[in-house]
């Protein structure tokens, strides 16, 4: 039955996504032809998704340490100290290809996977966010992908019981055939109760936990590293179904289990399920692993070793058990009606052995499978530096306020309410700032501490200039956290790119990582976890380079937090940070002027970024501001409009006359914040700013029911809101192949 000895043909090897040099490497390694099961194991371990073979060399250059970092990259998620014996554990991970094939289930299982990465370390999830990128709105499949992905993200998180409090949504034709679903999760744990995946001790039982194994997603991991082409249909049966109910039980069972002291090491079964988790645990602990697959709880009949080793059935975990605690441990899982089965043991010979029906199906060197997997130094060419284009090259609009109204109603700029109202963002009762602000804020327990979360990247900047784009993504996250009054702690990154075998694409990856690294160092903002998703192409066209950044910040006292909404009339509106009116790669240039040329994005000066941000944070902590909002996509006037819409309080603003009005209104210069404060304290602020050499100018005052830019017709809050809220629901009401 177990066709384990079928002939290993070049075709079969190719189908397993292994290049001929990689296969040669296998032969040299084991000095014989691999069995089918072994071939499957190698294909799972050595594919891009699990081995990071194209990106490792560059990921190593990222700063991953800091005074607060308890555990950086290398574990299921990063761990950061937040004081009082508590830690925040977080990571972001992609589920792009599955989400394009079956948007609802693909996105749902993406959320499930990242939640497991967090609670497998002993943390109870307290926040989920998601960065979503879809094709052009007018592409026939986009609406279906949007509705499916949003329903899938919400459906899983809502049922599991974690507040989904933020994220990003972009539309661009480069994602037409390859959407991006990047799911972020963060959990809270005590620093002395954190669990790792490194196996310890010889001859200890290896236990299978959670749901049963079926033929789900076999080759999912390989698929996640393969470009799409016409025969994508073929890959469809690999779709996995998420079961958030079982995941919730698994969460409660795992946290209870961890209390018993039975857990020596634990690891979720993610991509390449049993193979990846078993090998990672053994290799990390310099131990061998022996599995008897006859003991694996199966959902389907007659599953072969090959199928069991590659199955990606969800809601499963693997752990090394302290034998003296077996009974207690098993009782916990029985109570939660989940499977608990001893399926193997650790050994001291660094081999990975798999038995089925008493037959040895695989016998491989574990280190070479795991932490010594192949690594490439792929050829790359740096993206040519784009030209800085002067303001004079960008035509001015006839009417600024009408243009503003257009901009806030664009697919990339309009309100995401349609999306986040499908997410339970209030559950757990700790949501202080939900979706729609600069960063979301969650109280820790009864406070006064709180954490801030944000996701960001501007793919159009990264495309034009990967290094500046990489910097900008990190800088904007740092700014978003600062804007709510948080101290930025650390980031996770999710690097989504095209085919790394193309030197230009590899060049984008290298450039972005350099930029990210530079920003992390300048801002003391280490990378503690992340994920890489390559081969995001359809029929040879790559996506925009999309290094999504997820960031976490700390508020010592939740009472001291700021939001974007104006709080009162007759308050001064002040811009902190210099406005040069940079229009290259701006929303105005792309969507209003329809400009396609590859102009330089706004330059990021990390020293200034830090100086301005630290100043703003200090002022917030001193309770100087009533509202704070960072200026980013769309520029200054859009930022002000967003503050107006969030509050229903109008504003009257005036541009200085030494700058073109449209450049002032829509330029996307970095390191800027719009703040409000009582008129009486303006003088004090300005002098403190001047003393620190921080540009700060008053541009107007709050009040009324309209947004008025001196010199052009006012526009009412109501009109702005209608325009801003209107696009998404109207778009989603169109013809949709939703599945009932």
């Amino acid at each position: 039955m177990s066709a384990n000895d079928i002939e290993i043909t070049p075709k079969l090897i190719a189908e397993h996504g292994l290049k001929s040099d990689e296969y040669q490497r296998i032969l040299d390694l084991i000095k014989r032809t691999p069995t089918l099961t072994e071939l499957g194991i190698f294909s799972a371990m050595w594919n891009e998704h699990c081995s990071y073979k194209s990106s490792k060399k560059w990921l190593r250059t990222l700063p991953t340490t800091g005074p607060r970092v308890i555990c950086g990259p290398g574990e299921n998620a990063g761990v950061v100290d937040i004081g009082d014996g508590q830690a925040i554990i977080f990571k972001m991970e992609s589920h792009n290809h599955p989400s394009y094939i079956e948007p609802h289930q693909g996105a749902a299982t993406g959320v499930g996977g990242i939640l497991r990465d967090v609670f497998t370390m002993g943390a109870r999830p307290i926040a989920a966010l998601n960065a979503l990128r879809f094709g052009a709105p007018d592409h026939p499949r986009t609406r279906h992908v949007v509705s499916g992905v949003v329903a899938g993200v919400g459906g899983y998180g809502n049922s599991f019981g974690v507040p989904t409090i933020g994220g990003e949504v972009n539309f661009d034709e480069s994602y037409n055939g390859n959407c991006l679903v990047n799911a972020f999760a963060a959990g809270l744990a005590d620093t002395d109760k954190i669990f790792y995946s490194e196996a310890k001790g010889v001859g200890l039982p290896i236990v299978y936990l959670g749901s049963k194994t079926g033929r789900d997603g076999i080759h999912g991991a390989t698929m996640a590293s393969a470009e799409f082409d016409q025969d994508t249909e073929e890959k469809r049966p690999t779709v996995q179904i998420g079961d958030p109910f079982s995941e919730k039980l698994l969460l409660e069972a795992c946290l209870e289990l961890m209390q018993t002291g039975a857990v020596i090491a634990i690891q979720d079964m993610g991509a390449a399920g049993l193979t990846c988790s078993a090998v990672e645990m053994g290799a990390k602990g310099d131990l061998g692993v022996e599995l008897n697959l006859d003991m694996v709880p199966c959902r389907e009949d007659a599953m072969t070793a090959y199928e069991m080793m590659l199955s990606e059935s969800q809601e499963r975990m693997l752990m090394v058990l302290d034998p003296s605690k077996e009974k207690e441990a098993e009782a916990v899982f029985r109570k939660w009606q989940l499977d608990f089965a001893i399926i193997g043991k650790t050994t001291d010979d660094l081999r990975f052995r798999v038995f089925r029906h008493g037959e040895l199906m695989a016998d491989l060197p574990i280190k070479e499978l795991g932490d010594q997997a192949p690594e490439y130094d792929r050829p790359w060419v740096a993206t040519p530096k784009p030209a800085m284009v002067p303001t004079s090259e960008f035509a001015a609009p006839n009417d600024i306020t009408q243009t503003l109204a257009k901009i806030i109603a664009l697919p990339d700029m309009c309100s995401r309410r349609w999306v986040w109202e499908q997410y339970d963002h209030l559950i757990q009762g700790n949501t202080a700032i939900g979706p729609g602000g600069d960063a979301a804020v969650i109280r820790i327990g009864d406070g006064p501490k709180a954490l801030a979360f944000t996701l960001d990247v501007s793919p159009r900047y990264c495309f034009a200039d990967p290094e500046e784009g990489g910097k900008q993504a990190v800088a904007e996250c740092w700014r978003n956290l600062t804007a709510v009054g948080a101290e930025p702690l650390a980031i996770t990154d999710n690097l989504n790119f095209g085919n790394p075998e193309k030197p230009e694409i590899m060049g984008q990856l290298v450039g972005c990582i350099k930029g990210i690294g530079a920003a992390c160092i300048a801002l003391d903002f280490p990378v503690v976890s992340g994920n890489v998703s390559l081969y995001n192409e359809t029929n040879g066209t790559g996506i925009l380079p999309t290094p999504a950044i997820g960031a976490v910040g700390l508020l010592p006292d939740i009472a001291i937090r700021t939001t974007i909404a104006f709080k009162a009339a007759d308050e001064a509106i002040v811009i902190i940070g210099a406005t040069a009116g940079h229009l290259g790669q701006s929303i105005y240039a792309r969507d209003i002027l329809g400009r396609r040329s590859v102009d330089a994005p706004p330059p990021v000066d990390l020293a200034i970024e830090r100086r301005n941000g630290d100043f703003v944070r200090d002022e917030i902590r001193a309770r100087a501001f009533t509202a704070v909002h960072d200026a980013s996509d769309g520029g200054l006037l859009v930022a002000v409009a967003e503050m107006v819409m969030a509050s229903g309080i109008g504003a009257t603003v005036e541009a200085p006359d030494d700058i073109a009005l449209h450049a002032w209104a829509f330029g996307e210069d970095q390191a800027r914040y719009v703040v409000t404060l009582p008129q009486s304290s303006v003088a004090g602020l300005l002098s403190r700013a001047e003393k620190d050499g921080i540009p700060a100018i008053v541009i107007g005052a709050t009040g009324g029911k309209e947004l008025t830019l001196k010199g052009s017709a006012p526009i009412s809050c109501e009109t702005l809101k209608e325009m801003h809220e209107g696009w998404f629901p109207a778009y989603m009401a169109g013809p949709n192949l939703l599945n009932a």
Binding site: A151, S159, F160, F245, S246, K248, E421, Q422, Y423, I427
Partner: protein, 222 residues
Amino acid sequence: MKSAVIVFPGSNRERDMLTALEKITGTKPIAVWHAETELPKVDLVVMPGGFSYGDYLRTGAIAARAPIMADLKKKADSGVHIMGVCNGFQILCEAGLLPGVLMRNNNLRFVCRHVKLETVNAKTAFTNKFKQGEVWRCPVAHGDGNYFTDPDTLARLEGDDRVVFRYAQGTNPNGSLNDIAGIINTKGNVMGLMPHPENEIEELNGGTEGRTLFESLLETVA
């Protein structure tokens, strides 16, 4: 006031409810596992929100047949106060402790937002601290809150003032009949509502109107 919160596999707002009860009543509620067969002696039993059994089959259907439910029905008959919130409301309907059923939201989408509730019967044990007709802010978070029942039952509910809360000012998020957000049984000791007062109890939530409901119970029940 002594209270208990029944926890089912898949419940996920039980912690919110336990916290709210403790913060407002000052006494720690008892969490009771669905597999128990007897409830402790308490003044109030709460069925919390969540996705018991994943909302599979029908919302609340499987939980409504859990071992603990037999004793819950006894307690209901003996006059103990019982409140079902969201999934708890769905379970009470499936268990026959309240009439009608909660169907999929009319737009088939899950909805999490703040709505306006009108307290249309302020004479119940759960609402006596509200003003009659008082309109207050409260969050909802559900995919199946679309209250439905047959015309006769609906007429009886309305006639007997057993509709306790309505979605006010055009904020009905799910298409429920007569904007119904919460109803009570004939005896007046079993109430179910879709919104989440337990998530509207402190400054952090952006409002504290949800407290009034718990304070009403505190006054009458114990």
